[in-house]
Amino acid sequence: MTLRTSLSALVLMTVLTLLGSGLFAREFPSDDSGRDRVGIDYDEIMERGFIEIGVYADFAPYSWRDSSGALVGVDVDLAQLIADGLGVELRVIDLPADEDVDTDLRNYVWRGHYMGRRVVNVLMRVPYNRELDYRNELAALTGRYAQERLAIAYRVSDFPDEPPFPGSFQSRPVSVETYQLADFYLTGLPGVLPNIQRRRHLADAIELMRAGEVTAVMGIRARLEHYLRDDPDFAIESGPLPGLSIGSWPVGIATAFYTARMLSYEVDDILTAAVRDGRVAAIYAAHGLSWDEPQR
């Protein structure tokens, strides 16, 4: 045994002892659920030959099931890019969103859900923000691959002179997806509430606009593009949003922090390279979507 391996064995033993003594208890859930380590790291993924990557269910154009039931979308293609980069088989899993991303990280990245679902190795489309990162210390947020922004889709003939801006909806009807940022933002603007038609799904809001019941739909730009990209009657505007500092945010991936730190570095390298050489932009373009480089 070389000095180096015996040293690392000593370190490992020390870590295990600390774990056993409960000194690391802070990183575990606050209830009495089992203190097994959940999730696996890079070496185990390489050894078994496949990676499990989670995407949001029913979330076009990022991840949804087409008419044949196949899981498709930007995030599915990016998941394939990650698996190819690692040289392992991809197993992609669509996951329902919970009430916030913090909960999704707990359910899908570092603890698992109490209905019995296991964690995935990588979760796609996790927004990046320092505060979100800090308060979810059991997840590693990295691999930023795109910049999301709010935008307004509108019927061109309704706004012949200039595109609508948020103040336009003091006099013109607009639709939004319920409980999304656009909903809260517009509802909070003076005089806009009576002109908002809220719908459970963005597709329903788009239908209202196609039917002429509203003049515009506000939401995430790429999602609006997905529904309207081939229709010359509609256009999409992403101008300034007064009073809203969070109209744009980067998205990336998450892995478990303690159990999969090496994996997070590898995936970050793969995505960063793909951002730089244009492969991420190409995937967006293949879906008919515009793409902005993520802010670092």
Partner: protein, 581 residues
Amino acid sequence: MNRFLLAVCAGIMAVPMAVAQVTEADLAQDDAVTTSVLTNGMGRHMQRYSPLDQINKDTVQNLFPAWSFSFGGERQRGQESQPLIYDGVMYVTGSYSRVFALDVKTGRKLWQHDARLPEGILPCCDVINRGAAIYGDNIYFGTLDARIVALNRHTGAVVWNRRIADYREGYSYTAAPLIVNGLVITGNSGGEFGIVGAVEARDAENGELVWRRPVIEGHMGELNGEESTMTGELNATWPGDMWKTGGGAPWLGGTYDAETDTLIFGTGNPAPWNSHLREGDNLYAASRIGLDPATGEIKWYFQTTPWEGWDYDGVNEVIPFVDAEGNGRLATADRNGFFYILDREDGSFVDAMPFVEDISWASGIDETGRPIFNPENRPGNPADSADGERGEVVWAVPGFLGGKNWQHMAYSQRTGYFYVPANEWGMDIWNEPITYRQGAAYLGAGFTIKPLFDDHIGAMKAIDPNTMEIKFEVHNAAPLWSSAMATAGGLVFYGTPEGYIKAIDDENGEVLWQFQTGSGVVGQPITWEDEDGVQWLSVVSGWGGAVPLWGGEVAQQVAYLNQGGSVWTFRIPDALLASAE
């Protein structure tokens, strides 16, 4: 396909045993008949009072376990059920939508039903179940994927299975169903996003919907397959189309007051939680509503928290009683920290008092029953944090889990007091600009719940509804999350998260007996007597529910409590009964 086969099997198995059938008359006298427990609340008025007194202040020291039964399985997480007792069998539900039929004398399992829950379900409101209902030859219970199921009580075979609401839209079901005149009456449970509360009645025979009453104004009701009437008046108390996703889930079920032939359901908080988006009273969220059991028409309402903004659901049980002067009254202890007395006939306001300490959101209740708000204590508008700054922290008491949560109070016909399992806690709330949902930014809020006192959160309070005084209180370190039960033996039983089932003196709160069940008790104790006149007591044990899920700092304090899942049944052993005589 196999309905016929199933019916035949059920019939064959039922023949040798089935003589007894639970009738409407049986349910109506459940409070007086001591040999069975047929309803949640030990009577549809939910007084949770037993006239039995073999176990009393003198004899309770002789109370010992007769048997214990483990729900088994890998999944535990919070047992909040109330067992039912009928014809020598105990019917009890467990977490994750399970039902067990047990021999009531020995605890031997007769059958078990595990609902098959859909893949990928994320139930909004934890995985607990608060109990079953019994009628005819069926057991009725609700599932986490928002279905109501009828099981043959002899075999556990499914008789019918109906959807209450779509779980994919955020609905769930956890309450014990209520049976009145052959109708199975249910509320619903739902998450924060986009659900609408409703009370529904189904034919107990086949599960066909008879009527449906959404509890938020603007929605249409249904009766016998056709539209009936609109709930309230469109846009009277809600701006824009916010009523369409107005929340108000009546998730704790309801009471039936036979005296006035009225169903009384409490409704949850209005949605979204950000009250600045829905200025107005937001009827009938955070209210009690009286319903005609035949049609689902609203007879009356009383709103405990108009323009609710603190997550003070108004779901708490309403208990009919007769006061010292012979007046018919209703009592309810709200999540908002106030204990209310209402008129039994029309739900109108009679009196109110705070039952927890240091309430900060309102300085009191005015003579019409409306709260006197402290405007500076309303959580801020998240739109104000669109500038990216974290908002000002508001300290509000009670915390969002309430002065009293779901755990039922009891009314003692012996003392005339209500025994309210209360909690003393508050919450910090602030606007949180950096929140995300499904990959997207979101204007959210941060909450954390904190104790008010160093030595206790839980406080069992005895309230005299005639003088509106707290007669005594018994403190508990952890929050109380178990229902209470009072008996003619001068005892009040309730459980604690620390694992004890306790009996206190109903006049002074002295702890006369306690037993450690091995996991937290957050269930609903019951008592009955067998054919030999022996009094029995049962309670489920198994820590969980909302506190460890959402309890913030409090959750940290109770993190040492172990989960479990079992029924404990007690009696005074024969030898001790004999020596007492």
